[in-house]
């Protein structure tokens, strides 16, 4: 690894067990009420959730359960009506350099090549203290994009575009990764493939991750825990543990535990 602005993996493994178990991300009694067009709509009601350092947690639920709203609040892009969110003990009030965001759409700039899309966060933040090219090469290797550096977004498939977006997220080594249905617009085969890749990358990078999806299978495959959310008002119904060994490989999907957790979540959501 190169000299990065933040180093997490080593601190984590070397740390004391209490430090390891201390929550890294704390969502403390957060509510959000919308005014204006959706006057009085309670998008989120008293959501509380602790996420440990290096933990992968998914937010699953039907449309309107407030999962994207919660993600935006954690990202510092939206303020809660009540309650607060803390990351590494400091209250989130605005976007931060140690938090990275990824969307359902690749959101690449068409006029920049893949590699220049990836370096965008470094350029915007004028990052210093490490060699950009080395770090870019590292994330390209990690995501399997070598050889596509000079391609423009329109020359890449949907799956490849999302890989570029993933590289752009990873390049500045965020301590908290927020992913909003990143594979939601892809076909089933590509989605499954990228899930396997993300599981591998996430185990390698050991970052705290919040992953929004309405695909139960995807949530179980990737997560340590799944927060199951409900509507009217948007809230967390239950947080389910996923007792499946890592590394997560495709065969996980046919395991007995996988089926058990799936049924458990479907029960909570009232899907039978």
């Amino acid at each position: 690894m190169t000299n990065l602005p933040h180093q997490s993996a080593d601190d984590h493994t070397a740390g004391l067990s209490e430090a390891q178990d201390a929550p890294s991300l704390e969502v403390d009694n957060v509510s959000r009420v919308f005014s204006g067009k959706d006057d009085g709509l309670v998008a989120l009601a008293n959501v509380t959730m602790d996420v440990k350092q290096g933990e992968f947690i998914s937010l699953v639920g039907p449309s309107g359960c407030g999962k994207t709203t919660l993600l935006k609040i954690i990202a510092g892009l939206m303020t809660p009506s009540a309650g607060e969110v803390r990351f590494e003990s400091s209250v989130i009030t605005e976007p931060r350099n140690d938090i990275g965001l990824m969307f359902q759409t690749p959101t690449l700039f068409d006029w920049r090549t893949a590699v220049r899309n990836i370096s965008l966060p470094l350029e915007i933040r004028q990052s210093t203290g490490f060699d950009w090219d080395t770090r870019i090469a590292e994330v390209l290797d990690l995501v399997g994009l070598r050889g596509f550096e000079d391609h423009y977004p329109r020359e890449l498939s949907g799956g490849m575009q999302q890989r570029v977006a993933l590289c752009r997220l990873l390049v500045s080594d965020p301590q908290l990764m927020l992913l909003d249905e990143p594979f939601g617009a892809l076909d089933e085969f590509t989605r499954e493939h990228l899930n396997t890749e993300l599981a591998r990358i996430s185990e390698h990078e050991n970052k705290t991750t919040v992953f929004v999806t309405h695909n139960i299978g995807e949530a179980i495959f990737l997560s340590d825990r799944v927060a199951v959310m409900g509507v009217k008002p948007g809230r967390i119904l239950e947080i389910v543990d996923v007792p499946i060994e890592r590394p997560r490989i495709p065969s996980v999907r046919t395991s007995a535990e996988y089926t058990t957790v799936t049924n458990q979540i479907r029960d909570i959501l009232g899907l039978g």
């Binding site: 605005e94 350099n97 938090i99 959101t107 700039f109 423009y152 329109r154």
Partner: protein, 286 residues
């Protein structure tokens, strides 16, 4: 379940060879020539000219030469026009008026458009005024400009500026304002400054719209110059056309119009080429 067979690159290539090229898609070279755009366009032009010529020959009462010359007369007149220094000198005047008008009008449109798009104060102050002026037929200003700036080039440049200012202004405002929501959220999450958002996101996103405005403005600038010359002038392509019309030299009028058409086409194709080079990422450019 059946076993999955994996083909090697060589086996795939062999398979493609054995299947041969897609027969149905192949076209004979002769058919390809006759269905080509250039061939068909040329055929249309020649057919129209021939019909025109025949109608003039059959019934001169309905196609009097004093009103409309025949193609066989226009072609020599055209040749005469493009080999005469005097004609070129007049076209050069029009070219300068349109060119200066375009640069000033489009430049001004872009700058004011960017200010309106980026500053709420500017927007409130200028946008209603812009809409008011935009809905005024601006060629009606031609006599006013003649009165203000005289018979020379200045009045024509002023008209060209006024006409080509608005398409660039409006398209700049639209282009800079209508931005992909997620891209803006991304830039905000990266804590980009207003200037960074403008330079890295808004301006490149707006380029296709701005360029569309510039292309319209280019045509408008020529219209402005010509209309100005038709109103009152002692030089320029518009002046040539007007003089020739009054003298019933219809073959010359048609030759000048033809020259203007070619002039316009060259400008349009240059702009199109430049657009493809500059906005290489945008696919919808036609």
């Amino acid at each position: 379940m059946e076993t999955i067979t994996t083909y090697t690159e060589d086996e795939l290539a062999e398979l493609a060879r054995s299947l041969g090229p897609p027969q149905a898609l192949q076209k004979s070279p002769i058919l390809a020539f006759f269905t080509h755009t250039a061939t068909l366009t040329a055929a249309t032009v020649i057919a129209m000219a021939a019909l025109w010529e025949i109608l003039s020959a059959i019934d001169p009462r309905f196609w009097p030469e004093i009103v409309l010359s025949r193609p066989t007369e226009i072609i020599p007149a055209f040749w005469m026009a493009i080999t005469t220094g005097f004609v070129w000198a007049n076209f050069w005047v029009t070219f300068q008026e349109a060119g200066i008008g375009f640069i000033a009008g489009a430049g001004g449109g872009f700058i004011l458009g960017a200010l309106i798009a980026m500053s709420p104060i500017f927007r409130k102050a200028f946008y209603p005024v812009v809409v008011l002026f935009q809905s005024t037929p601006r060629v009606a200003l031609a006599p006013v400009f003649i009165a203000w700036f005289g018979f020379g080039m200045t009045s024509k440049i002023a008209l060209a500026v006024t006409i080509c200012f608005f398409p660039v202004l409006i398209n700049t405002i639209t282009g800079l304002t209508v931005i992909d929501e997620n891209s803006l959220v991304l830039m905000r999450s990266l804590r980009a400054s207003r200037f960074q958002i403008f330079k890295e996101l808004r301006l490149p996103s707006a380029m296709p719209a701005i360029f569309a405005g510039l292309k319209t403005a280019l045509t408008f600038a020529v219209i402005g110059a010509i209309v100005g010359e038709l109103t009152a002038a002692n030089e320029g392509a518009g002046h040539l056309i007007e003089t020739a019309t009054f003298q019933f030299r219809m073959d010359d009028v048609m030759a000048y119009l033809f020259m203007l058409a070619i002039f316009g086409l060259v400008l349009f194709l240059s702009a199109d080429y430049l657009e493809r080079k500059l906005i290489f990422w945008h696919q919808d450019t036609v």
